[in-house]
Subunit: 368 residues, 2 copies
């Protein structure tokens, strides 16, 4: 990961830390590689914007061949629709309370909008929200494949599709999230098998209801590699665009494919065996554990052993070079998604650290 | 905490979830109570804005009698200075790299600015940044009282004060953070004793150097109650303004004093014994542990047992009422500070849920 250090060296005088640095060339390679994989396996890519929340990156994903975008809430969908994206899947069991009903109806008037559902009450509420044009909204039935989160039992997918059709909504297909696949290659592969089985059952339910599941949509960066060759038509990876330590540990990316780090400055070195970086939970989130740490200096064994809000406790490995105050280091996060939302903008460079642009994190703060 | 439920009921049709709801009357009571305590014990209050990052709340704190504000980074200080606050202590060992040097100098031209230092290199760097007017910047020597974070050994405070004066900076006093006081009343009291001891040593060092420590500044919400009667002149509590479950567990606030919750909607109920709320790590941060949970429904035993980014797994206690999809509940966070920065604005009401205003989280995204 020495390229991260090299890129950082090129930027030093021009950035204030903490700052999220994106290597655009590494990111573009990640986007292209995912697209190549999908094309080879006849899958559509519908990247999840939760990871970057950045219109410019969404554009690159679509330019590379993505069929549309995935959003996690109405606000994200609105930001990307306003930027001209016209095919958005809100892969979440949205309950249209407050002003969300009218917002969803407005959105469905400007973009092809799909929304997740896993129960009849939500189908009714969405249909009510759509008023006299329920057929402008497509719903995608979420089924549970083992993550025990949201999602109906797969064998009920047909019933939900029928309930949606009865209310005039368009049942477009099924989706699931293999979130139980986050602990090693074998677990990822098993979760992907569960995913395929659940989606197959769900598609069969649609067929029995006389409805075609046009889209059969699957997560996620760690399981994508095992998602080809079956019933799946679409993948919704998010984290692949940047990568992070969690994905590296899972084998879902290499260290060289990590495209985002947080530039951090050593601000205090008064305690032997550690230095304090200016990256705490408000920059990195509290993603990690005392065992794993909460982020690491790229290419080293130095991990953040503890975080306060503005302080990162970097434990220095025995025999490591002392890091003096003022030293700037690249910190690779465990989980990249909660990092991006902490900042107004991404500092965009390349592996040489010469270019420097700033891309706004357009959908940050959009949570509902 | 039934008042939280009552306030929420009054707002339901007008808000989209997740949303951070502030009870202004409860918050004002918290502000006034802290001020009363300080007046009674002849202490200045300098609230830390990291908790609210909101100009309107800073105003209320100053109106109640705060001598100024505490900030955690240059960006926060800039936001509050631009809003007219003219006495800001940046209680952090800032290293003025990138553009921070010129930014600090600009700030010191418009507000009385104090900055923390714990080493000579930073003193030199700050003096360099101030150019020909180093005396416009006051520095406050940070000493460690046991948190093992930043801060010089207390017995070196005088040396640092002398180094600052030599460079033309104004050594204004000393500060510390008793961050090892976060586990029960006894530990808080011990940490407060450590704090008093460290600050006493540091003040003695100043005196030996022939320099007056004008300010002797202490943290923090959990230890404030034990900070009176000694060498301390100023307290820097932050979390007291809202309170949270961590402070309640510590005995640093009561449940009735909690002034902020996150309104959350049940979006899925397909897994027995749990429901999914639309509050995940991007709303609450990952503050907590599998044992404590990651937040709780106010006034109940229902805790968030697990979080994904947009999903909160609310475990329902045996025998609890089922929460149907669409139900909106008030979630009290474990740690309030990382919640506020996730949102563009605070929804402000009172215990009756009738008033409704929106206050921007002005300094969110300002991390450097």
């Amino acid at each position: 990961m020495n390229r991260l250090h090299r890129a950082l060296d090129g930027l030093l005088a021009r950035i204030d830390t903490p700052a999220p640095i994106v290597l655009a060339d590494v990111m573009q390679d990640n986007i292209d590689r995912m697209q190549d994989f999908a094309v080879r396996h006849d899958l559509d890519v519908r990247p999840h914007v939760k990871t970057h929340k950045c219109v410019e990156i969404g554009r690159r994903q679509v330019e590379a061949g993505a069929v549309g975008l995935t959003a996690g809430n109405v606000g994200e969908a609105e930001v990307f629709a306003a930027a001209g994206f016209d095919d958005i899947f809100l892969a979440y069991p949205v309950w249209p309370s407050g002003t969300k009903g009218p917002r969803i109806r407005r959105l469905a008037g400007t973009t092809r909008l799909r929304i997740g559902v896993d129960n009849v009450a939500a189908i009714d509420a969405l249909a009510d929200a759509m008023g006299d044009e329920p057929d402008r909204l497509q719903v995608v039935v979420e089924v549970d494949c083992g993550a025990r989160r949201s999602g109906a039992p797969p064998e009920l997918a047909g019933d939900l599709a029928r309930a949606a059709r009865k209310r005039g909504l368009v049942p477009a297909g099924v989706f699931t999230y293999p979130g139980h696949g986050s602990s090693g290659r074998a677990a990822r592969e098993c979760a992907a098998q569960d995913q395929e089985a659940a989606l197959t059952t769900a598609v069969r339910g649609f067929r029995a209801a006389g409805i075609t599941a046009e889209v059969v949509s699957a997560g996620s960066t760690p399981t994508v590699a095992f998602s080809a060759g079956g019933v799946i038509t679409e993948i919704r990876p998010g984290e692949y665009v940047f990568g992070d330590l969690n994905n590296s540990r899972l084998g879902a990316c290499t260290d060289d494919q990590i495209a985002l780090f947080v530039a951090a400055t050593v601000v205090s070195d008064r305690v032997p065996g550690q230095v304090i970086l200016d990256t705490g939970t408000k920059a990195l989130g509290r993603e990690g554990s005392p065992e794993l740490g909460y982020g690491a200096v790229a290419g080293t064994d130095a991990v953040l052993a503890k975080l306060n809000e503005y302080h990162g406790f970097l434990a220095l490995p025995a025999g490591a070079d002392r890091l003096g105050v003022g030293t700037v280091v690249p910190v690779v996060p465990n989980h990249v998604c909660p990092v991006v939302i902490n900042f107004e903008e991404l500092i965009v460079t390349d592996s040489t650290g010469t270019a420097l642009r700033r891309w706004p994190v357009d959908a940050r703060g959009f949570l509902n």
